[in-house]
């Protein structure tokens, strides 16, 4: 996977094919908003094309329903390499609200597993969470694939420091003794059994 500041996936204009895999149309309306006058992503060389044969980037929406699966795979096959995918919305990123539903594959990572079984390699992917994401957030995703912006979101892990020995933070006097007595009683009952 590409690191920040590394060689961008595309140097020139990116032509975008919008692929709906059974989305609720919320994300699709935002994709169209991206090309509307207020955001107008065409000023940056991103163009919406009607055929997968002309596209560099797939703007992918939806949790991949079983009905849509064969057509999605066909569209992925039709797009010439090198290609990239911008997975828009929570459904495409991780299955979203449908992640455990009976009639969906469940997001683009699950789709890649299906495609791997068909011998298709995994294309480089940008994930844009949101339900739906703002048009600006989608723009940010497309431009991240082009290397025009840097990734801001990072994994955050917080690990709490273990406290000192004993029951810390006790406000009542003699509580430690009470706890010890209770523990002793429990142990006594256990021993008698």
């Amino acid at each position: 996977m590409r690191e920040v500041g590394a060689k961008p996936w595309f140097r020139r204009s990116t032509w975008v094919f919008h692929l709906n895999s059974g989305s609720c149309n919320g994300c699709d309306i935002e994709v169209l908003n991206m090309f509307a006058p207020t955001q107008d992503v065409e000023r940056l060389g991103v163009k919406l094309v009607g055929s997968p044969l002309h596209a560099d980037v797939i703007v992918f929406t939806g949790p991949v329903t079983f009905q849509a699966l064969p057509y999605v795979v066909r569209a992925f096959k039709a797009i010439p390499n090198p290609k990239a995918v911008v997975a828009c919305g929570s459904c495409a990123c991780g299955g979203g609200i449908w992640h455990d539903s009976y009639n969906v594959v469940g997001g683009i990572d699950a789709l890649y597993e299906v495609m791997e079984s068909l011998g298709m390699p995994k294309p480089p992917t940008v994930y844009v969470p949101g339900c739906p994401p703002k048009p600006e957030a989608m723009m940010y995703g497309v431009l991240l694939a082009r290397g025009m912006v840097e990734q801001r979101q990072r994994r955050e892990v917080f690990v709490e420091e273990p406290p000192q020995e004993g029951l810390e933070g006790l406000s009542v006097e003699g509580l430690e003794e009470l706890v010890a007595r209770a523990a002793k009683a429990v142990k006594g009952v256990r021993a008698r059994r």
């Binding site: 996977m1 590409r2 006058p37 207020t38 955001q39 107008d40 000023r43 940056l44 929570s90 990123c93 991780g94 979203g96 609200i97 992640h99 455990d100 990572d109 480089p124 992917t125 940008v126 994930y127 844009v128 969470p129 949101g130 339900c131 703002k134 600006e136 957030a137 723009m139 940010y140 431009l143 991240l144 912006v149 990734q151 801001r152 979101q153 990072r154 994994r155 955050e156 892990v157 917080f158 690990v159 709490e160 420091e161 273990p162 406290p163 810390e168 933070g169 006790l170 406000s171 009542v172 509580l175 009470l178 706890v179 007595r181 209770a182 523990a183 429990v186 142990k187 009952v189 256990r190």
Partner: protein, 165 residues
């Protein structure tokens, strides 16, 4: 005449297109962006996990830690977690530039130390949560908060059976 008026109106207005990637964009009032857990406030009670519709939040016990895991890739930004959190530990910020090239970057984890039972020594609940519960209990029952549920049962039945002693 009306066409002239439209022309004048069109010329008098400014450009509507944003300069977005080159200039920051204002998000509207009440915008629900990236959810963030404040690790200093979270007690690991799991009420947000119950409320989360797409199960973006999950809670697991991994050895001596209770892990609250937030996967933003599945979050639908509904704000239910913010509503139900009793300690206001989780909030939705105004941040929306969340695009990543790897889903591992969409995860936030908070690992909280578990309290160990005073009798059997097994970890049973986050220490912070136990302290909060102990604060609310009356003095004579406070010791029970430091026992795990099983030992507490034993203790309770012991008191019921041998109440006279």
């Amino acid at each position: 005449m009306s066409r002239l008026r439209v022309l004048i109106e069109g010329l008098s207005k400014d450009v509507v297109t944003e300069k977005y990637p080159y200039a920051p964009v204002e998000v509207p009032e009440g915008f629900r962006g990236k959810p963030v857990i404040d690790p200093s406030k979270c007690v690991g009670c799991g009420s947000c996990v119950n409320a989360c519709p797409p199960n973006a939040l999950s809670i697991t016990d991994e050895g001596p830690y209770r892990v609250v895991r937030l996967f933003i890739g599945r979050c639908i930004f509904c704000g239910r977690c913010e509503e139900v959190c009793p300690f206001n530990a989780i909030t939705l910020t105004r941040e929306f530039e969340l695009a990543v090239t790897d889903t591992a970057d969409l995860v936030q984890e908070v690992k909280l130390v578990m309290a160990r039972c005073a009798a059997c020594g097994e970890p049973y609940a986050p220490l912070r949560e136990v302290r909060k519960v102990a604060e609310r209990l009356p003095d004579e029952l406070r010791a029970l908060a430091y026992l795990c549920p099983k030992c507490r049962e034993v203790m309770a039945s012991h008191y019921v059976s041998f109440a006279r002693r």
